[in-house]
Symmetry: C2
Subunit: 500 residues, 2 copies
């Protein structure tokens, strides 16, 4: 609140900073409904809510340490009064790791938890790219068992159905970082000396979606020149190694068993690779035991997003139905969330390995999917505004306030017109508010102890229709009618019932 | 997500920055319930949700412009990549003003809206003072009528009852900045030359609660030395002027009419003062018309908090029941929210006056009041944890997962034990999770196609009670019993029903 007793000498431009957005009532209500549905599933699975603040010590977040010349690289950072660097959280995982490490002994482990909230990225905003956006995460900390990963995959499937995605319109795809490591080992890329080369391979196959296999083949080999002429250095793999990498990414068979057989070939004699295949095998068995092997959850080595970050199983929730892209062309909706195992994150604080796995839903991305399929969660039902009581005579405002109070006490959403305009402008206001009806009392009605109810929905129909209609008079009498003051609430309720 | 394939060389200390807090499941659930109740009342009153981002241009927020030597005075600020200053919002009012100014033509006015969310203060944290806290605001923009202020006062009363505060345990107190201005005018403090003196008076009476009337009397006169010996300069008012100020702050009578009569005397011949009294009179009539003059909403000139900031009516929601302070002494709970008219805030952007009035609830303060009176909204009901299915034989984990899936499909909150510990530790885990029961299947049970249900609530009673009890054997047979696998869900449901 600022001191505003005198008008300012110069005005300030009202503008939202780039990459940030305001949210209106429909989007807020849809987010509430969607979050409640997600919470319900997560709690059914035994996950409990926990929330951390928006600000953490920069060193606790890791990754993006502020550069003194440019302190805002990737994250929003600022110095505390004791010179320590603070940052706005850029995801919900790093703060969870801090929370678990700080409260380690008092948490029952394995510790299942969930949280939703805004995260912040100090990046160049672009279309659909925001600097503040909401995530909804679930994580299990303290379990090395891939049963924890499998559970989260099944929970992701249940969540998508709960918010209104039909079975068959989504798939949870599962892969494993260790299998890729094994493939690279079998391709002759083991050892610390080859770490840089492995990273180039990881980043190359992460571009499979965007560049297709020909582009990735170039990046795995000698390199690739893009349309702008920029050259990206390749990983310099031999042709046989490139084939091995593609044997991995295209290993998906008709069944999980077939996929696993292909992967066993791709990892050759690599122990780490075999361990990864065995983990996927264990997960496939858990999916089968719970009945999720009906296409809801599948092993798919083409899932490469995040393989650079995660240490074991990786999973991604994809919507398979088609929507129109910006140019009207049909496209698969695609990913709405993903996650995986990140056994090193809590270890940063504790100096001992703490296994963990987690899943993050992109809230606005999932919400736009629900809007695309017109899920009741996204669309809602109640689009009617409040009843508006007009102020015809300012001296009688107490009387009008009394009408509004009666309606509100009866649970009817309603408001007193609070502006200074005349009757026509008040009715226009009621229309802009999508009011179902207006309550009007001039001095004539007042003398008779009556109010006039004006049905604004019928009124709009009358105005749009032909005056020759046989039922015009009957309609008109229903669209606006007087009632005794004592019958105000029941008359308004009748009008609301007409337009349910 | 950070790259964590190798353990870090040195560990980072896991610690929350000062003045920030994590929130656990009970507090999060209570906040959800309370927010839903508040939303319900606000929507009944025709207010609609709108939310703005956490970050705004610093100049749009006003008041705290970043000083280049110390850019974080009061607010958290940082520079964008184009050198513009950004800040974390420090309240929900300044961003609303930016929103309304930016979307002025597309909003139906008067514009009623509400929003909740975290705000940030870069201040020295202390006991009960946080650098991130939640507010729940409602504002009406574009109405100069005090009917808008009166409505928000009544809505505040309804809100407190909705969240569980009994009528008689709260009061909404109303005052008016213009009345105080009139009193100061009548005390000879009119004119620009006296602005500094008026500010001293405003700040002095703002300390009435803390210093009592003797302390304030000194501040209105020659000045006051506090316990540490620091001297605060006074306003240098004449004795008669001091009496006039106290005639204002102690003007509350037995009824609103009596209070208004006292205020008419206190403002003397000041026109601005008379305008303020007339506004309070209009509001009193609206409270009476709606039936809120039964002690729910009262005119009380002793409400001085915020008078420095607001431009017309000021209101405060106070809880009147007693709680124990930190030393065990009874104290009135006090304020949980307040607000008033701030006609200049949107004007900063539009260069023309835009009347507005708003109310802000301190969410954690209200929540702690609800905890003090054990309101169902704060306390909740479901304190039981999930059913835990033990893993007795790792090779059979798919079978255990199947049990969990059956329970979840039946809507029963349940989890598979995901750790590596033995049976006793698993049962301890279930106790820490407050599980109502555990599901156990060793090889003996498996061979018979059975599972053992262990009622952990009855089990705890048995362990605590004497073994001599006559019903011991009967209790023990109910506390742990075998059922056929096919009866798993119904047997678990029976146990849950026992402990509802």
């Amino acid at each position: 609140m600022t001191d505003q007793t005198s008008p300012p000498a110069s005005t300030v431009k009202a503008r939202l900073p780039r990459g940030l957005a305001d949210r209106g009532p429909a989007e807020i209500a849809a987010t509430h409904r969607m979050s409640a549905a997600i919470r319900e599933v997560y709690e059914l699975y035994g996950f409990e809510a926990v929330e951390t603040p928006f600000i953490e010590y920069t060193e606790a977040l890791g990754k993006f340490l502020p550069d003194l010349d440019r302190p805002n690289e990737g994250v929003f950072s600022f110095q505390d009064d004791d010179e320590q660097w603070l940052s706005l959280r850029y995801d919900l995982t790093a703060p969870l790791a801090r929370y678990v490490a700080e409260n380690y002994d008092k948490l029952a482990k394995p510790y299942r938890s969930y949280r939703s909230g805004f995260v912040f990225r100090n990046e160049k905003p672009g279309p659909g790219r925001f600097r503040q956006f909401m995530q909804f995460d679930a994580d299990t900390v303290g379990s090395a068992s891939v049963a924890a990963d499998a559970e989260i995959c099944m929970m992701a499937a249940d969540t998508l159905e709960k918010v209104g995605i039909a079975r068959g319109d989504y798939v949870i795809k599962v892969n494993n970082r260790k299998v890729l490591d094994g493939v690279l080992e079998a391709a002759g890329l083991a050892g610390d000396a080859r770490a840089g080369q492995r990273l180039i391979v990881l980043r190359a196959i992460d571009k499979l979606d965007r560049l297709g296999s020909d582009g990735v083949r170039m990046l795995l080999g000698t390199g690739r020149k893009d349309e702008s002429g920029d050259f990206t250095k390749g990983a310099d793999l031999a042709a046989s190694s490139i084939e091995r990498v593609f044997a991995f990414t295209s290993a998906r068979g008709a069944t999980n068993e077939a996929t696993l057989a292909n992967l066993r070939l791709a990892v050759g004699s690599s122990e780490r690779g075999a361990e990864g295949v065995s983990e996927l095998d264990d997960m496939a068995k858990l999916f089968a035991a719970a009945g999720y092997d009906d296409g809801r959850v599948v092993i798919d080595p083409a899932v490469v997003r995040g393989l650079e970050y995660y240490t074991g199983p990786v999973y991604e929730a994809e919507l398979t139905f088609e929507v129109k892209d910006d140019n009207g062309r049909p496209m698969r909706f695609g990913s709405v969330g993903g996650g995986g195992r990140y056994d090193g994150l809590v270890a940063r604080f504790r100096g001992e390995p703490v296994p963990a796995t987690g899943f993050s839903v992109g809230v606005s991305r999932l919400l736009s999917a629900l809007q695309a399929i017109k899920s009741p969660i996204a669309v809602g039902s109640d689009s009617r505004g409040p009843v508006v009581v007009l102020v015809m005579d300012k001296a009688e405002i107490g009387r009008y306030q009394g009408f509004v109070t009666q309606l509100r006490n009866a649970g009817i959403r309603s408001e007193l017109y609070l502006g200074a305009a005349g009757m026509n402008a008040q009715l226009k206001y009621a229309d802009r508010r999508h009011s179902p009806c207006a309550v009007i009392q001039g001095s004539n009605e007042r003398d008779k102890g009556e109010v006039t109810i004006r049905d604004l929905v019928l009124g709009a129909e009358l105005a749009a229709g032909s005056k020759d209609r046989a039922d015009y008079l009957e309609l008109r009498s229903r669209a606006q009618f007087p009632v005794a003051e004592a019958d105000l609430v029941s008359a308004v309720r009748d009008v609301l019932d007409r337009h349910k």
